[in-house]
Symmetry: C2
Subunit: 341 residues, 2 copies
Amino acid sequence: MKETTLKEIANTLGISITTVSKALKNYPDVSEKTRQAVLDLAKDLHYTPNSFAVNLRTKESKTIGLIIPEVMHHFFSNVINAIIDEAEKNGYLVIILQSNESIELEKKQVELLINKRVDGIIMSLSNESNFDEHIKEIINRKIPFVMFDKISKLANCSKVLIDDQKAAMSATQHLIDKGCKKIAHIRGPLNPQNAIDRYIGYKKTLDKNQIPYDPTLVYTCENVTFQEGLDFAKQIIEEHPDVDGVFAVTDLVAVGVLSYFNDHKIKVPQQVAVIGFSNWFMSQVLTPKLSTVDQPSHEMGVASFHLLLEEMNAHKENIAFAPKTLILETNIIERDSSRKS
Amino acid sequence: MKETTLKEIANTLGISITTVSKALKNYPDVSEKTRQAVLDLAKDLHYTPNSFAVNLRTKESKTIGLIIPEVMHHFFSNVINAIIDEAEKNGYLVIILQSNESIELEKKQVELLINKRVDGIIMSLSNESNFDEHIKEIINRKIPFVMFDKISKLANCSKVLIDDQKAAMSATQHLIDKGCKKIAHIRGPLNPQNAIDRYIGYKKTLDKNQIPYDPTLVYTCENVTFQEGLDFAKQIIEEHPDVDGVFAVTDLVAVGVLSYFNDHKIKVPQQVAVIGFSNWFMSQVLTPKLSTVDQPSHEMGVASFHLLLEEMNAHKENIAFAPKTLILETNIIERDSSRKS
DNA sequence: TTGTATGCGTTATCAT
DNA sequence: ATGATAACGCATACAA
C-alpha cells in the first residue's frame, strides 16, 4: 500500500503540485473544475497529507507532551483523561510520560519531549523536583508550558492549582468542628510544595483554635502509599492513644489508616475521625465512607490544556504571552469517617 | 533561542554538511580531528537533530499509538503504565487515546493515528467494536498492530490475552467449592468477547457441577459500573433471596455489590459469597476484602509492547511477520468475601 | 487561474 | 577523508 502524494495526484491530473496543494486547502484561486478533479482523485486514492513533511514545513507537530509522576494514581488518571480528550477536540495528540517521582527520569523525559519538538508541555513535578535546570530549560526555550498541581513556585510559567493551604485549613477545621481535640497529621514528603502547604494549613488551623502544636503528631510519608497509612495508623495509636482525629495528605494514605483502624476495632469516627484529601473514587465505597477534600481533577486537566493552547497559539503568532495562574476551588466532602455528632 | 542545524555547524567549521552528519553518527570515514571539532561544537551549541526532518527522511517517528476504552480504569492504567515505561526504554514514545467505549470515537482515533504515521498501534477494543472496517484498515495497511484484552477473534494480528473462559470457570468453581449452590452472575455487555467468554465459563462450570442453569440469575451490565453492581445486588436479593454466591464480571461491579450488601446487613460471605475479576487495588482495602481473579495487567502491557516491537522491527527490515497470540495465566485470589468454611 | 522555484533539515549515493 | 547533489513531501512567495 504505497502512500499517495501531492506529486502523484498532480502527475495523473497533468497539473502542478502547487495547484493540487491549493485545491486541497481550499485556496480561493483555483478554478472550481480543477478543484473538483483534485478532490475526487484525492478521495479515490485515499490521499492524506504526510504529517512528517507537514511537521517539517510548518514547524509544528500538533502534539503535546504530558509528564506526571504516576499514571496509576487516581488523581492523575483523571487529569490525563481530561487532557487527552480536550486535546483531541482541539486537534492535538498527547504523548504521556511518567517520572515515577524520580527527578532523573523526569529530566530525561523533558529532554525527550524537547527533542521530539512537541508544541507544548504540561507537567506535574515529581517529589524530588523543584525549579531545576530541566524546568528552566523549557522556559528558556520558550516552549509553551503549563504546570499543574505539583508545581514550582519560582517558575515563571502558567499554573493550574488549588489552594492547598486553604483546603488543608478547611479539612483540619472540619475535624475540630466535629469535636476533635488531638489531631494527627500524616503529611507528604518534605520537598513538594503541596505537601508543605497542606502541613502549613494544618498547623495554622491548630493555632487559630488555640490547640497546641505537637510535632510528634506529624508523621511524614516517603512514598505516600497505602502501606504507610497502615503503618502510621499503628504508630499513632501506640504513641498517642488519645488521638481523636487524623488528617491524611491523600485518600490513599487515609484508606491505609482506615484499614488499620478497622482491623483493630478502633471505631471511626467515634474514637478517631479521619479525613483524606483528593476525593478518590475508592473513598466512597469503603466502610466507613471516607470524608475528604474534593480536588477538581477533571477541571484541572481541562484548564491546563486550555492555558497551554492559548500559549501555543500566541507562540505561533509570535506574540508575547503572559503566564497565568489559575486557582481552582475545593470543597470538604463530609462522609461517615468524620460524621461524629 | 534558534535551533542549531547541521548547516550551522558546517558553516562555522567551514566544512560540508555531509561531513558534519557523518561525524555525528560516527561514520568511520571521518578524520579523528574533524570528528572532534564537530562533536565539540555540537555540544557547545546544544545541537539536537530536528526530529521532523529525521522522520521525513527515515519514514519513522519512533512513536506508537495506544487506544483504550478508559484511561481511568485500574486495569488500563496499569497497562498504560507498563507500555509507556517499556516503550521509553526502547526509544519509543506513546500517544494515548481513549475511545470511551464508543466505536465512532475509536474509528476517528485510528484515523488520527494512521495519519500521524505512528510506527505501530496497540489497542483494546471498545464494547461496541468487533472486526470492523477501521481495524481491517490497520491490518491492510500493514501497520504493526497488537490487540490486548478486548480483542476481535477474527482479526489476523498479534494478541495478548488471558483465557477468560478458563478464568471464569475457576472463579465459579471457587464459589461452588466454598459451598455455594445458587450463584448469580453479573455479566458484561453482550458484545465484547471477554464478557461472552466469562459468561460461558460461568455456565460451563454450572453444568460440570450439575447445577441447573437459570437464565434469570444472569444480570447484564450496560456500562460495567459501580452503580450497576449496587442496583443488581438489590435486584438479586429481591428476585432470588436464596442466592448464596455472586460472580461479577469486574471488581468495580463486585464492589458495588459488596457496598449494597454492607448497607443492607447482608452478610458476606456467610449469606452470599462474592468474587470479582481483575484484582483492582481497591478490592483489597474494602471490608470485606474482595476475592477476585488476578489478571496480569502489567505483564500484558509489557508483552504487548514487545510483540509490537518485534513486528515494527520486521516491518522496517521488510521481512514478513507472523502474528502471535500470547495467553497469560490468571489466578484466583481468595480473600474474605468468599472465605466461607 | 496556474505554475516555478525555493526551503524546511536530514540522510544517502556517488564523486572527488 | 571530504563534499556535491538529490531526495523525502509539502507549503508558499512570487511570476506568468
